[in-house]
Amino acid sequence: MTQYIVRRVLYMVLSLGVLSMVAFMIIQLPPGDYVTTFVHMMQQRGIAVDEAMMRALYERYAFDRPVHEQYLKWIGNIVLRGDMGESMAFNDSVADLIAERLTLSVVLSLGTLIITYIIAVPIGIYSATHPYSVGDYAGTVFGFIGLATPNFLLALILMFVTLRLFGWSPGGLFSPEFLAAPWSLARVWDLMKHLPVPLIVIGTAGTAGLIRILRSSLSDELSRQYVITARAKGVAERRILFKYPVRIAINPIISAIGYLLPGIVSGEALVSIVLSLPTIGPMLLDGLRQQDMYLASSVILMLGMLTMVGTLISDMLLVVVDPRIRFEQKN
């Protein structure tokens, strides 16, 4: 087991190295750079930036250096000092910016996860145990509508509808008075009040996948010999269901946890843009759009790292949860 983990960690470090390069390169792919974006923004605002000013900007951001040099400086600072550089658009340290937004992203992700499970697990179990029943159809249709609706549109419509019906303040995660306030009970409560719409939109998108995994793996399990044997021996249905099959059917869900994070960030990004949520997603997209390279690269790198750690943890969890895998490991 230890050896397995060590090997996995080594791979991970290697992958991260490659990821960091790709993350850095991705920003360089489209033409232009932050300076051109900035100059354009200034021009829209009626401010002409002349050659000398542009030169000043290029020097300031060290864009006049070769790309590999810029990369080495960036990655070097991350490895040696944990310094991810500066965001040009926000004029602030990337680490601080990520910290500012990561908390809310995590809150949102966890909330979404809980919602997803609350909706998906009962429907999945019901569907597997009552295949082709009206309940199965109704449950899956319900579960799938969330998946089938383009998220950004659902968010927009819900934002409008909740304003009209309940007078909810549209968008954002906080009321103005709590925007820059330090964390307090009142602020948490304020956050809770703003969460329903985003949670519903992002959460429903994920339920369908879970329902499907659960339904199919559970119905596979239910047709196994040991279930039939148990049933023949007169074990109560409920006990049959929850003693083994459900536990085993949960496995694929655990192994999916590792990939949940990039999935949620991707899914969350569009919704967060529409709802103006101060999370990582929109910041990453803006970073990419404005070619704010240290910001965007660092966020991608960090998400990649979290995903890799996530898969590692979920693999280890599987070993703990499923004795069969534990057995394989031993041999």
């Binding site: 791979y11 290697l14 992958s15 490659v18 990821l19 790709v22 991705i26 920003i27 792919l29 489209p30 295949p131 082709y132 159809y137 899956t140 249709v141 799938f144 509508i145 998946l147 089938a148 609706t149 383009p150 998220n151 950004f152 549109l153 927009l156 419509i157 409008f160 369908a208 499907r212 199919s216 047709s223 990939y259 990039p262 999935g263 960030v265 991707s266 990004a269 569009l270 529409v274 997603g281 990453l284 997209l285 990419l288 759009r289 965007a296 991608i300 998400l303 990649g304 995903t307 890799m308 898969t311």
Partner: protein
């Protein structure tokens, strides 16, 4: 005597049924199992209609997809009527008059009962090309000029939303299939290589897959879409965007293929086939492939909706297809604002078609998943 005959007949019938089951090809069984999933069957028909309409979009749509009718800008959906002055009639519609509201500056439309237009089948209208070959001007249904009928309303330039949905289906529905085809080729090839050759190749491909899956999708799409050369025609852009969409799709498939190959390699019947002298190629194509083709098809079916949604997401971000190309994503991009939701909700109707299609693909996929292992 009669009793015995009956019993014998019954036994025979039962045996025949059993035999039918045991000798039936796996495809037959799959179909039977699939048919049990009633939602899947309905979904199958809905999809068939959608694809058919897309193929013959010029005929199915009442109007041209691009030509503007500025006299009917932002007209709400036309109501089809069967009652006129209390009397039942063949379906017809009233004419439209309009006026700008001096306060809000909105164009407001009123029906004009003086003008009535019967809805007819096979009416003449805008010209189009059948499958890109023959020019025609007959449309499935519509009203004769100067009457206008917009079942789903019009957009700002007075273009019929229904017609744009039908024409847009060509791109939006095909992008899924094409993307999936690309995923299929990539996934089978790389997954197959990984499973068969093993060793360092397997190692490299697995790491690559892990790597791609650890990237958040949307930023990846964004950077790649932004890097598409500017002077590319809409068609080439379309292909490239499809390719970008399938760049994540193949990884899942490759994993399945590899897993199945590894698993099946150890199965007795494969070993048996090998021992009895079947060539390696034969083993793969005749014995292994049919065994997991079902899974692949299921997987692919379930990938399609992701691609369709991906197209709308890219359009929303402004990096997908662009007008004047007509696709569902483009339609939704133009409708995804507060103004449409509040004042012109009919602009959102294309979203219903996205939902419908994605639902259908999911149900068909589910039905196929149940059917994929027909011996269960």
């Amino acid at each position: 005597m009669a009793d015995r005959v009956n019993t014998a007949e019954r036994l025979e019938a039962a045996a025949a049924a059993a035999e039918q089951y045991y000798v039936a090809s796996s495809w037959t069984l799959m179909r039977r199992k699939f048919v049990k999933h009633r939602l899947a069957v309905i979904a199958w028909f809905v999809l068939a209609i959608l694809y058919l309409a897309a193929a013959f979009a010029g005929f199915a749509a009442p109007y041209d997809r691009i030509a503007s009718r500025t006299d009917f800008s932002m007209a709400p959906p036309t109501r089809v009527r069967i009652l006129h002055e209390g009397r039942l009639q063949a379906p017809f519609i009233y004419g439209l008059t309009r006026q700008r509201n001096p306060e809000t500056l909105l164009m407001e439309y009123q029906t004009d009962p003086e003008q009535r237009h019967r809805i007819r089948l096979f009416v003449s209208g805008d010209k189009y090309k059948v499958l890109g070959l023959v020019t025609a001007n007959k449309h499935l249904f519509g009203v004769e000029e100067p009457g206008v009928m917009f079942l789903f309303g019009t957009d700002q330039l007075g273009r019929d939303i229904l017609s744009r949905i039908i024409h847009g289906a060509r791109i939006s529905l095909s992008i899924g299939l094409l993307g999936v085809a690309m995923s299929f080729v990539l996934g089978c090839m790389l997954g197959g290589l990984s499973g068969f050759i093993g060793g360092p190749v397997d190692m490299a491909i697995q790491r690559a897959i892990e790597f791609l899956q650890s990237l958040p999708t949307i930023p990846l799409w964004m950077s790649l879409a932004a890097a598409i050369p500017i002077d590319w025609s809409p068609l080439r852009r379309y292909f490239l965007i499809t390719l970008i969409l399938s760049i994540i799709g193949w990884t899942g498939l490759a994993r399945i293929v590899r897993g199945k190959i590894l698993q099946l390699r150890e199965e007795d019947y494969v070993t048996a086939a090998g021992v009895s002298g079947a060539t390696r190629r034969n083993v793969i194509v005749r014995h292994m492939l049919p065994n997991f083709l079902g899974y692949l098809i299921v997987h692919l079916t379930l990938e399609v909706p992701g691609m369709i949604l991906g197209e709308t997401a890219l359009s929303f971000l402004g990096i997908g297809l662009q007008p004047p190309v007509v696709s569902w994503g483009v339609a939704l991009q133009q409708a995804s604002n507060i103004r449409s939701v509040a004042l012109h909700p009919w602009l959102l109707i294309p979203a219903l078609f996205v939902v419908l299609t994605v639902l259908c693909f999911n149900f068909v996929g589910d039905g196929m998943r149940d059917a994929a292992d027909p011996y269960k």
